[in-house]
């Protein structure tokens, strides 16, 4: 670097100085540190995959690919299959995403689109973010003691009168998919709401002014202009929320009912991979059962990875100027 790049030539006097050796040292070490930590993160993930995969590998020849397509988990006969758990994981997360996503995005619109005085907006935003600070055990207990008795009458009413619809085909006895999904949707709500708010706030104010200038009503501006413009960020929020739902463990282990059944019904007990791990791992037999659990963990990791990659690809493709994101 030539010196004159740093010299602002104002009337023969220089305003700027070349960087001192200290500056250069600081700059270099900062760059080195950021690079090192980035690599460390990647290395950590690789190490986790290596460790889990390494433990899953010995079980692979015994369990094979049919592990993914059978439904029996029997440790006394060493027969393992996680089809119901895979289904339960995706199904519960998907339902939670629909609910949590809908409310999260509407909350983001409500907070960012000048419906509220600034102070109320600020308070509301923080209250919603507080939801993320509640431990998952508390959500589980709340689900058992508050939510279940609350939704049971409605659920059983739906089953009685609309039982021919597959979604309502069983009674809700207590634990089951619906309470799990409701709690899950509340848990992902802060994530979705916060990131969607950022997406809305990132839109330059001029965009909205232009929309109003063209004669749109408030709702037309929000639905036709703001929402599509923020869609990339909102989609990113949904992907993150989905990822969070896939991996949620404790609340689900407490609420989902842990039955290895394939079901469409919202009211039937189901199971998820994370709940299976939480329930079975502490007492698992050394050998094939531990291997099978590691295998299941790999499957969960893979599902999350696919969701995130697909999400990233769609965000880039769908956002106007998405390459900048």
């Amino acid at each position: 670097m030539a010196d004159n790049e740093f010299l602002g030539n104002v009337g023969g006097r220089t305003l700027s100085k070349p960087p001192t050796p200290g500056d250069i040292f600081f700059d270099k070490s900062f760059r080195f540190l950021t690079r090192a930590f980035t690599w460390a993160t990647i290395f950590l993930l690789a190490f986790i995959v290596y460790k889990i995969g390494g433990k899953a590998l010995p079980a692979f020849p015994d369990l094979g690919i049919k592990f993914l397509f059978t439904s029996v988990w029997n440790s006394s006969e060493n027969v393992y299959g996680i089809l119901p758990q895979i289904w339960g994981t995706i199904y519960s997360s998907f339902l939670a995403l629909i609910l949590g996503g809908f409310f999260g995005i509407t909350i983001a619109i409500f907070i960012t689109q000048d419906f509220l005085p600034y102070k109320v907006e600020f308070a509301l935003k923080n209250i919603i973010e507080l939801l993320a600070a509640i431990p998952s055990v508390v959500y589980g207990l709340w689900g058992i003691y508050v939510l279940v008795p609350l939704i049971r009458p409605l659920a059983n009413f739906l089953h009685e009168y609309l039982g021919w619809i597959p979604f309502f085909s069983t009674r809700l006895s207590g634990l089951g998919l619906l309470p799990a999904v409701l709690v899950l949707s509340i848990m992902i709500l802060p994530t979705v709401a916060a990131i969607s708010q950022d997406a809305f706030k990132a839109i330059p104010h001029k965009t909205k002014e232009a929309a109003f200038g063209m004669g749109t009503t408030r709702w037309e501006a929000i639905l036709r202009v703001m929402l599509p413009t923020a869609s990339g960020g909102i989609f990113g929020a949904l992907v993150l929320g989905f990822g969070r739902a896939l991996g949620e463990t404790m609340a689900l282990a407490m609420l989902v009912g842990s039955m290895s059944t394939l079901t469409l019904s919202f009211f039937a007990p189901a199971d998820t991979i994370a709940a299976l791990l939480a329930n079975t791992f502490p007492e698992a037999n050394v050998g094939l059962e531990t291997g099978a659990l590691m295998y299941a963990a790999c499957v969960l990791l893979l599902i999350t990875l696919i969701v995130n990659i697909a999400g990233a690809v769609i965000v880039t493709k769908a956002t106007p100027g998405g390459d900048r994101r």
């Binding site: 440790s75 279940v148 709940a275 007492e283």
Partner: protein, 344 residues
């Protein structure tokens, strides 16, 4: 007096130990770590607190309630000084410990069938009926088989929801052992295990004893098995069960003690009382064991362990009843005390 001299021996041993073991906190303190079964964990922690007080902090026991299976695993891996298990130890597991294993039953518990039917207390379940409920064959509370045994009660037509454990557990092991003993149908279709394949479609699973208890409490029409202490704590109504002698016995300390009184402990101290004799016996009772090495890492640890066992057998049994466990009968205590001499 004998107790006192043992105390002195342990005291001096502990003092000596503190000089030998690097990193020992204060003089005269022996630290013991144990891990295993969660079912006796409440009473164990009470015992160990009391023991530390009575010995002025000379014996400190750190017990981690991580489950029977993990307890055995840690015991085999020598990461603890003693283990604890509701399902004792299998011979194959004992063989993995070169020093030799001494199992000692420490307390016992009843497994109860708790249910949730508002306004209906003390339901009676004959031994031909409750295995069928857990097989998913009886699905309504007003089923004729249940109603016949309970002429005084008006049973609702609520569907039965069976609550079982989602994790592996010694409680499931004891309960399925009992059901297998009294029902050949149950034995052939389900069998005994820490985790079994429940055949019913009207089931949900709860995590650990407290998960099952809370699921029962929150589900009208639910029935499930749990340890007596947990059902009592959650104030769940418990069914009175028909025992081998054909008498209905409700859960409680008397029925439990009667069941244990008939147990005959073999040399290795492992006995499962799957279907006790006697008119007053409550039918589902299980011992829970502590697992010790016959040869310990040093003499002081062994002395402290023996002292701990002596405390549990003596003062410990007196609070068992209050804590929801069954005190060991005198004959069993005598045998266990004798066997504890093998801890060297």
């Amino acid at each position: 007096m004998k107790f006192k001299s043992l105390f002195n021996v342990a005291l001096s041993a502990a003092v000596a130990a503190s000089f030998m073991i690097a990193g020992s906190a204060t003089a005269g303190e022996t630290k013991i770590t144990g891990a295993g079964a969660s079912f006796p964990a409440p009473i164990y922690s009470e015992w160990f607190k009391d023991l530390a007080q009575k010995t002025n902090g000379e014996i400190k026991v750190d017990y981690q309630s991580i489950g029977s299976g993990s307890g055995i695993k840690n015991f085999i891996a020598h990461t603890v000084d003693f283990g604890a298990s509701d399902a004792a130890m299998k011979q194959s597991e004992i063989d993995q410990v070169p020093e030799g294993v001494q199992l000692l039953p420490m307390t016992a518990g009843e497994i109860v069938i708790a249910y949730n039917l508002p306004g209906i207390d003390g339901i009676k379940l004959p031994r031909s009926v409750y295995p069928e409920i857990f097989l998913g064959k009886i699905t309504k509370w007003n089923d004729a088989k249940i109603a016949d045994a309970n002429p005084g009660l008006t049973l609702p037509d609520t569907p039965i929801t069976v609550v079982v454990r989602s994790d592996k557990s010694g409680t499931t092991f004891g309960f399925t052992g009992h059901l297998s003993a009294i029902s050949s149908d149950f034995k052939s279709t389900v069998g005994q295990g820490k985790m079994v394949q429940w055949p019913g479609t009207n089931m949900v699973k709860g995590k650990k004893n407290d998960g099952v208890s809370s699921a029962i409490r929150q589900t009208p029409g639910a029935i499930g098995y749990t340890e007596y202490g947990f059902a009592k704590l959650n104030k769940l109504p418990m069914a009175c069960l028909e025992n081998k002698a054909g008498k209905f016995v409700c859960p409680g300390p008397e029925g439990g003690a009667a069941a244990l009184a008939n147990a005959v402990l073999p040399e290795n101290m492992i006995v499962f009382i799957n279907d006790p004799e006697g008119d007053a016996s409550y039918p589902i009772a299980t011992f829970t064991w502590m697992l010790f090495y016959k040869k310990n890492k040093d003499a002081d640890t062994a002395a402290a362990l023996r002292k701990m066992v002596e405390y549990c057998l003596d003062d410990g049994q007196k609070i068992a009843d209050k804590a929801g466990y069954i005190p060991l009968p005198e004959s069993v205590v005598k045998k266990v005390r004798e066997a504890s001499k093998n801890i060297q």
